[in-house]
């Protein structure tokens, strides 16, 4: 997705943490997710204290008990919307945020929990909890952009550290973040990784998957399973036919597209063309 122009420039960074702190306020919010994307921020060990000095961490429950009231200059939103309560909460967060960045597969596509969108949720609730009516949950898991305006989407399950730092940096400087926009497949060529499809006939979604991971799976000798989501304008039908030629049966093809990013439009459509909905 093309980056949208962020809203007004945040205030100049300052130091100290007085009540009149002028550093831009950063908030991190969680919806249905595994916490992996926000943990990515804590995993920036070398840059963490540096980042923490440049922004005021105003809301980041995973890292701090301190909560500063909005409005927030930048909100990072992790997770998908799966309850009616969350569908309301995201609006409050949007109102309190100047720039809202959806981070990760969950927030940008509904995430792995969007596999429910293909099935009868009631049956699954019974499988997990014993009673389908026990827990309030929506039939579908939806991305943040289905509910509110999102200024920028950062993809991946989990997101990449480097991309996160880059995007945060650009937004804090008041710039429009730009990220490379090509396939995992191209990174394989750049890295000189032997193609697992050509060499071993393994199924690989690299040709239709957005870059960002540095072509990790092929470098480990396995095919890509699409955890950075579909690359816009890729040839998904061609990918499906290639998998068929390589001997992947229809159910296997449907499953491959219906994974971490299964609810992303391009993967969903392609997956449905190979297999019927499961229940």
């Amino acid at each position: 997705m093309a980056p949208r122009k962020p809203k007004p420039k945040p205030k100049r960074a300052g130091d100290g943490e007085t009540p009149g702190d002028v550093r831009p306020k950063l908030a991190v919010w969680k919806f249905a997710s595994c916490d992996g994307c926000q943990l990515t921020l804590l995993d920036c060990e070398d840059a963490l204290l540096e980042i923490a000095a440049k922004v005021e961490i105003a809301n980041f429950p995973e890292a701090s008990r301190a909560i500063v009231r909005g409005p927030y200059d930048v909100s990072l939103v992790e997770g998908s919307i799966t309850t009616s309560h969350d569908a309301e909460r995201i609006h409050t967060i949007r109102r309190a945020s100047k720039v809202l960045v959806a981070i990760g597969a969950c927030a940008t596509s509904g995430g792995i929990q969007a596999l429910r969108n293909f099935a009868e949720v009631g049956g699954w609730m019974t499988a997990v909890y014993g009673r389908p009516d026990a827990i309030p949950t929506l039939r579908a898991s939806t991305p943040i952009s289905d509910h509110v305006k999102v200024d920028f989407e950062l993809h991946g399950c989990p997101i990449s550290k480097e991309q996160l730092i880059r995007v945060l940096g650009a937004i804090l400087r008041g710039n429009v973040p730009r990220l490379p926009h090509h396939s995992v497949c191209l990174d394989c060529k750049r890295n000189g990784t032997v193609c697992v499809t050509v060499a071993e006939g393994q199924p690989c979604l690299g040709p239709v998957t957005r870059c960002g991971c540095g072509a990790l799976c092929p470098s480990h000798g396995r095919g890509c399973y699409g955890c950075f989501g579909p690359l816009a304008e890729a040839n998904f039908g061609g990918m499906g036919r290639l998998l068929e030629v390589k001997g992947v049966d229809a159910a296997g093809r449907a499953r491959l597209f219906r994974g971490i990013y299964g609810a992303a439009e391009a993967f969903r459509v392609e997956s449905e063309s190979h297999g019927r909905n499961r229940t």
Partner: protein, 431 residues
């Protein structure tokens, strides 16, 4: 007797901003305390959508349950599938699996000790706030954490949801030079972990003891991590496949997380349980640090879990170093696993406790049924009992102090309800 002044404490989990998970504590007029840990983490229905997936997909899919302990999910899932298919993974490949898992232990424990739990004892809102006055432990903690992450990256490609593991082992064997390059950082990590343990020894730990029923994996010749037998501190010992006959999950009204009991009782899994059952198998320097911290027998004070975590970090770094040092290049880092009809379970020791998986698959390898019991679900009842006892024992604390210590009492167990309950806010209402 005039009776107790009734109180009500409400703890909101800030990770679920508007109190989606929380804590409700009521002190009754007769002095009785009631505590409910309410988990409103939205259900993600993994056990539902795993049905119909291929058995080889389980490690990548279940990793997404938790970003803090993906390796635990991958390990338990792989083992369950290997068992279902009648395959055992041993030797060098099992070593690599332990190495990856030690990476996760180091990463997770360093994070918890320095950034999540440690600040509580010194009265800071976060590790980042603490860093302003106490840079040393924070910087050391981050350095230590990074070594854990580097091990995960070496074997898995990345720290969160690594891609290196597969049913049967690893997709690719690590290169000798890459393994050797971990030697120096691990030596340093051992020193850092020892220093961290000493630092936890300077913290002011509340006096508080509980009579826990501990459940952990136990292994004959190692401090169990990737596998073992089920054991408790009251003599129970059984194969992992006995798990579901003893651990029963119920759905409590106030929570979206299922609660477990062991033969009808609340029980605890995690560092205190492992330490109680296997401490004689710790590495030399870990043992020494335990002695220095005065951990001479099973530790029944949950606030001291920070000590045990630091000790386990030393152990993890020492064992990881041993694996790195004895590593010899291997061609293939996996064994073939062909599906067959049947079922299998697997359990491993996630940083915060025992993680159990069971799958039933058909002859073609399609998953027919999945059961996953994470550590936090198992610990939930014990956590509630901790609160009841803590609040009951401290009528003198004012609401603010009581609230903070209750949060701390929950953080003692590093809960991971999708890892959301690390940070809680307390609101107090007088009845």
């Amino acid at each position: 007797m005039a009776g107790t002044v009734p109180r009500k404490l409400r703890v909101e989990v800030l990770a679920r901003i508007e109190g989606e998970a929380g804590l409700d504590i009521a002190v009754k007029r007769d002095g009785r305390v009631e505590a409910h840990l309410a988990v409103f983490e939205p259900p993600r229905l993994f056990e539902g959508f795993l049905r119909g997936r291929d058995f080889r997909e389980a490690p990548d899919l279940t990793a997404r349950i938790c970003g803090i302990c993906p390796v635990a999910y991958q390990t338990s899932a792989c083992q369950a599938m290997e068992r279902a298919c009648g395959v055992t993974v041993g030797g060098a490949v099992r070593d690599l699996r332990r190495l990856l898992y030690f990476g996760e232990w180091i990463e997770s424990h360093a994070l918890h000790v320095h950034l999540l739990h440690g600040p509580d004892f010194l009265g800071y809102e976060s590790g980042i706030h603490m860093a302003a006055d106490h840079p040393e432990p924070v910087v050391r903690g981050l350095r230590l954490k990074k070594v854990g992450n580097d091990l995960m990256t070496l074997l898995g490609g990345r720290e969160i949801h690594p891609v290196g593991m597969r049913v049967g082992g690893f997709w690719r064997a690590p290169r000798l030079e890459a393994m050797r390059a971990m030697r120096e950082p691990l030596l340093r990590a051992i020193d850092d972990a020892v220093a961290a343990a000493r630092w936890t020894g300077t913290l002011d730990i509340p006096e508080f003891e509980r009579d826990y029923l501990f459940l952990a994996l136990r292994h004959d010749d190692e401090y169990a991590i990737v596998d073992g037998r089920l054991a408790t501190n009251n003599g129970f010992d059984a194969d992992v496949d006995a798990f579901e006959r003893h651990v029963v999950e119920v759905h409590a009204q106030h929570s979206n997380a299922l609660q477990s009991t062991f033969d009808g009782q609340a029980f605890l899994t995690g560092p205190l349980a492992r330490f109680a059952l296997s401490r004689e198998l710790l590495s030399p320097r870990a043992k020494e640090a335990a002695r220095e911290l005065g951990l001479n027998g099973p530790c029944m004070n949950p606030f001291r879990s920070i000590h045990v975590r630091a000790v386990e970090t030393i152990h993890a770094a020492e064992e990881a170093l041993a694996i790195v040092e004895r590593f010899e290049p291997i061609e293939r880092a996996y064994v073939d696993v062909e599906p067959r009809e049947g079922s299998g379970c697997g359990a491993s020791e996630a940083p915060r406790g025992l993680l159990y998986h069971r799958y039933r698959i058909d002859a073609g390898g399609s998953i027919l049924e999945a059961r996953i019991v994470p550590p936090t679900a198992q610990n939930q009842k014990s956590m509630e009992e901790d609160l009841v006892r803590w609040v009951g024992a401290h009528p003198e604390l004012d609401d603010e102090r009581l609230g903070w210590t209750c949060e701390q009492a929950i953080r003692n167990h590093d809960p991971c309800i999708s890892c959301a309950t690390h940070f809680l806010r307390v609101r107090v209402n007088r009845e």
